[in-house]
């Protein structure tokens, strides 16, 4: 029989060492490039927000910080821009925070109880309820813009927090995640609780809620980002400055471009970025776990 030994190059420790070192350098190089490309626009905006309007308007693109940070940030915080209705960024931030937090808490609360009902009880129409919630995955607000607006408008909820928040609170994703998690709670734990005399609500409060803490933290990050970043829905529902969110506010500030106060737009952008980015980075551990589990 002919020899069929694969031709493997004679091992040369030095060469293989060198190859590995080179690969490591390339790896670092590309990753650093990626990080820089990601960060570049934010750096530009951050730096730009520390210069005065004229500098930006002239088209100089500063790469290093200037000396006008304090005045610009103070101005947008209390005043917004000077062209339009002058909605202060603080107001918009407050609206965004209220919207994001209420959406987050609302979604988690509503979803965890629905998932508990679907997972821990048997009742007529259980499957129907589950599918009714499940199907909403296929009906994001974007595809039913007009009729949903009509419903909210018929209910007199335009320009209200209720109209802004409540329609977004139903969550198939969160319900599925909690249900998935509830299915992993061992039967014996439920039986032990029954033996101990715990009823369904007591079990929910004493066992299910504490055990769901990690999932809730993960969902908090995902849903907070979702809530803070809403654009289309607030655009439809809010026409008054009182409930304008910051994401909408920035785009409105840019307006027709002709007389845009770019430095203020930049400062506002930085402020709009901060809360969701901070939440993601500070709660990274739960976020990563939750994201990967939610979508699976």
């Amino acid at each position: 029989m002919p020899q069929a030994v694969p031709a493997i190059a004679a091992p040369d420790p030095a060469a293989s060492e060198a190859r590995r070192a080179r690969a490591d350098w390339i790896t670092h190089g590309i990753l650093v490039l990626g990080v820089v490309l990601f960060a570049l626009p934010v750096w530009l905006v951050l730096v730009g927000s520390t210069h005065d309007a004229a500098t930006i308007g002239r088209g100089e693109v500063p790469l290093l910080p200037g000396g006008h940070a304090a005045e610009t940030y103070a101005a947008v915080w209390t005043q917004g821009d000077t062209r339009r209705a002058q909605v202060a960024v603080s107001t918009m931030m407050f609206n965004s925070a209220v919207m994001a937090l209420l959406i987050t808490i609302g979604k988690i609360a509503i979803s965890i109880v629905s998932a508990y009902a679907v997972a821990f009880f048997s009742f007529p129409g259980r499957m129907l309820c589950f599918w009714a919630i499940f199907v909403t995955l296929m009906l994001p607000v974007e595809v039913r813009i007009f009729p949903t607006f009509q419903v909210v408008s018929d209910l007199g909820l335009v320009n209200t927090y209720t109209g802004l928040i409540v329609p977004l609170i139903a969550s198939a994703t969160a319900t599925l995640l909690f249900r998935q998690f509830f299915l992993t709670i061992p039967d014996e734990l439920v039986e032990a609780a029954k033996m101990d005399g715990a009823g369904p609500m007591r079990f929910f409060k004493d066992v299910v809620l504490p055990l769901s803490a990690t999932n809730m933290a993960a969902l908090f990050v995902i849903l907070f980002v979702y809530g803070w970043n809403q654009y289309l829905w607030p655009l439809l529902i809010t026409t008054s400055a009182d409930v304008e969110t910051i994401v909408i506010g920035i785009v409105k500030m840019i307006g027709a471009e002709a007389d845009t106060e770019w430095n203020r737009v930049m400062a506002t952008t930085v402020l709009a970025l901060l809360p969701p980015v901070a939440v993601v980075i500070l709660m990274q551990r739960w976020f990563v776990k939750g994201l990967v589990e939610t979508e699976k």
Binding site: E188, L189, A192, M195, D196, A198, V207
Partner: protein, 365 residues
């Protein structure tokens, strides 16, 4: 303290019957072990007693009170689960006291009972720990402690030792036995392990396919198994079964393709030629008999030797001999008639000698 009566309990899951009319009566303070292969219905029976499962028919009576329709929490029982089922987010103290807190037991009383149980189980230093910070044996003790502090009428154990390693299992087995004696609580213990069953139970219930094949003391079951299932299940290595037929007058049995063995304790009923199954435990063979055994595997265990081999008929035989292995080649073996078990060849039920001194206490299906 309490008695437990299980009356004609049947259970079907959908159309699949898993229990066929179980009757059992447990005396105050008695430890009953329910043993059987997986799928025999032993856990279902325990869960019906616990109230975690509803019987399709029959009644459960604890201390004279019919509890068949009561919720688990209303039955005044406690259960130790196979996976311990400890609340992972609660400390040992909280785990043990949860049931008492739900029942509104005053705090000082809870503290007293938990301290007492922890003392008994050697958990006193671990009360603030979470379950994940405990070893398997410690978790097992917490699960026991949770049951003990409740001071229930009845303890239920659902294979509580099967998740422990072999050494710990033996130690915990002894500990459970001592604890049960000391507390004197009526107990039901489910296991698939025959050694556990033999060592723990005051009486055993050997279950087979949803029926109680035999209810008796461990020694009774070993000495007079009610049928071939029980005979094969209890004892290790398992009993050998040889097909045979009844000889004239019922005085002996002719082993298929082999010699006749005379019954030592008296004749069995039936016509000559009645089909029989002879049961011989591996230790009940004698060397130097008429059956030529060709060994194909010899396992020297030190104090004894286990020999696996075949008779000329192809019948497999396992043999346990004291001392060192015999030499090579075919060995002649014989059956010691005083240890012979005789079963009906068709039903597998035990056949006692005709003038039986007393009827065997057995529950046949």
């Amino acid at each position: 303290m309490a008695t437990l009566t299980v009356e004609r309990v049947s259970k079907s899951f959908g159309k699949v019957p898993v229990l066929h009319g179980i009757d059992l009566s447990v005396a105050d303070g008695e430890m009953i072990v329910i043993v059987g292969a997986s799928g025999c219905g032993k856990s279902t029976l325990l869960r019906i007693v616990a109230g975690l499962e509803r019987a399709t028919e029959g009644r459960i009576v604890i201390s004279g009170a019919d509890v068949t329709r009561l919720e688990p929490a209303e039955r005044d029982i406690a259960m130790v689960f196979q996976n311990y089922a400890l609340y992972p987010h609660m400390s040992v103290f909280e785990n043990m006291s949860y049931g008492l807190r739900i029942r509104g037991v005053p705090k000082p009383e809870i503290a007293r009972r938990v301290a007492q149980a922890a003392e008994m189980l050697g958990l006193s230093g671990l009360l603030e720990r979470r379950p994940r910070e405990l070893s398997g044996g410690q978790r097992q003790r917490v699960a026991m402690g949770r049951a003990i502090v409740r001071e229930p009428k009845l303890f239920l154990f659902d294979e509580p030792l099967s998740n422990l390693d072999a050494k710990l299992r033996v130690a915990m087995r002894a500990e459970i036995k001592r604890l049960q004696r000391r507390l004197g609580v009526t107990s039901l213990f489910v296991t698939h392990d025959q050694v556990e069953a033999m060592t723990l139970g005051d009486r055993l219930v050997v279950m087979n396919q949803g029926r109680a094949a035999q209810v008796a003391t461990p020694m009774e079951i070993f000495a007079r198994p009610a049928d071939t299932y029980v005979a094969g299940f209890i004892g290790s290595p398992a009993m050998n079964f040889l097909p045979a037929t009844l000889t004239e007058g019922g005085l002996g049995a002719r082993i298929a393709d082999g010699p006749v063995v005379r019954f030592a304790d008296g004749p069995r009923p039936g016509m000559a030629g009645r089909s029989l199954t002879l049961g011989v435990r591996p230790e009940h063979f004698a060397l130097g008999g008429p059956l030529p055994l060709s060994p194909d595997l010899v396992e020297p265990l030190g104090s004894e030797t286990v020999v696996h081999g075949r008779l000329p008929s192809g019948q497999e035989i396992t043999l346990r001999l004291p001392g060192a292995p015999p030499g090579h080649g075919t060995i002649g073996i014989g059956i010691r008639p005083e240890h012979l078990h005789v079963f009906d060849g068709k039903t597998g039920l035990r056949l006692e000698a005709e003038p039986a001194i007393q009827p065997p206490p057995r529950v046949a299906a």
